[in-house]
Amino acid sequence: MREIEYIKAVTEALDEEMARDRDIFLIGEDIGQYGGVFGATKGLYRKYGPERVKQTPISESAIIGAAMGAAITGLRPVAEIMYFDFITLAVDQLVNQAAKIYYMSGGQINVPMVVRTQYATGTTEAAQHSQNLETWFAHVPGLKVVMPYTAADAKGLLKSAIRDNNPVLFIENRVLYYKKFEIPDKVGPIEIGKADIKREGKDITLVSAGMMVERALEAAGELAPGIDIEVIDLRTIYPIDMELISDSVKKTGKVLVVHEAVARFGWGAELVRNIVEQLFDYLDFPPKVLGNIGVPIPYSVPLEKAAVPQKQDIIDEINRMIKL
């Protein structure tokens, strides 16, 4: 075991995969000598050169479209979208083109590409640099959406995303980037679509993904031992691991989903739909979703904190639920 920053785990995954398979190349803004604005591709330009680390103009549509074009002609590109918010500039390429060509072609043309991006709330970067749009893409047949929390999960899931023969949206978190995690010396691919129990418990199932897993764990720590919370890290937004969720809900009968994405029409709502449809008889009371209350992420620090669930919000909600 060793300790590394989450972002270093991303770099390692890219490096190890690129060393293993010459069909893999990177494409994105500022990913070359600078190593990416956060440092995710640090050292890779020096090691692999401009042919395999392609730094582009500011052209998100072309970046994603080019990744698709390369993926359907024999290569395995990993494109970077600097901020999750900027994916909006490439939605046609991702949603109308990459997600659909395998189906529309009757199975002739598949798209082994990865789109890496990052998000966060809490960095005072305001509404156009702080969005959680994973639900939009989880809603699109043909795409897979991955959102790891730990460095080991990031490394293993990124390897799987690269080896997947479909377009995978891989969502990192810039607050987590510089957080140190314990990681095994060797990390192989982790299966996409498998959630993980980060903390076992018997009283209530708390489901989360990305940065929010940390707040969930903190809340669980504070509420222990009085309330024994099972914290599930979804890891993959689509496909959802209903098997693991099921086992947990059958055990606890109580579910709280917490995410930074806007609560209304968010993936939490989808998770609850599945739980209510499939596990109704096991529920002690209605499942609940906590998310962004429904505002563009504000700039001012107290407003930004108030917009998305904080540790205390989770604690308060669980206390309310337990009383029911």
Binding site: G65, A66, M68, I72, G74, L75, G107, Q108, K144, N166
Partner: protein, 319 residues
Amino acid sequence: MDKKTRTGLLRQLYKIRFFEEKAIDLFCEGKIEGDLHPYIGEEAIAAGACAVLKKDDYVLSTHRGHGHCISKGEDPRYMFAEILGRETGSCKGRGGSMHICNRELGILGANGIIGGGLTISIGAAISSVYRKTDQVTLCFFGDGGANQGVFHESLNMAALWKLPVIFICENNQIAATTPVSEVIPTPTIGQRGKCYGIYGNTIDGNDVEAVYNEVKKRVAEARKGNGASLIECVTFRQKPHCMDMVESRQWTKEELKEVDQADPVVLYEAKLISEGVISRGEAERMRKEIKDMIEEAAEFGLNSSFPDAAAVGDYVYAQ
């Protein structure tokens, strides 16, 4: 140009024309559920350009893509089956007219989004350079597509990296119901190439040999590593935008005459006959042979079964 190439071009022109005419017949008979975007009048561009290509070169087509697909070698039987929604279709009935593709033939697809092929073509070109082959990519789009933001991004990137992509703008002078004069403020679209630092030209898109020769030159440059080109081919769209729409243009008698006299199929047949390349009789026999082939292809489609509804969930994710 040798006789084989020239008669080959004429065959391709007939093939596309008769395919489209048959498809329109099927549509008017109520046999096609979806819509059609007829390529009638524009055949010289697809026929001339694709005749230059090798099997492993790539083509990005448009919503008006039957001409490109036929010219790149897709079997008209599978194309009819596809637009009829049958399991034997090019895409097993999953894609329809606007999404016909054939991976083996390098037909990376007709596309339902205007300009949808532009950024994809950049990727295909990056790929061939990366894999060190001399494959080229032809990207078709129209006067409408030339105004999409992705046109800018794609030409810029192609120029930057000297990508082997030929951007072919099929200027049929109208986008759905909007005339090109109302949306392009400059005399030509071809002149835009210069702004990006690539070759740009405007040619007569109704002259199949002119298209062939121009594309051949630029493809040769691309294969040598001399980068991208923009070729604007000016033509006429003889039919409405699609079969579901009425014609918006109010042609004057003079305009109709101009369109008729520019018909690429009629022009080229007359040219080859007048130059003694083929006789009138040979031309008639060629036409009959191809018409019969098209009829048979349509029959193949009509006699094919529909996909099993239980398989509706197939092909969402690859293994």
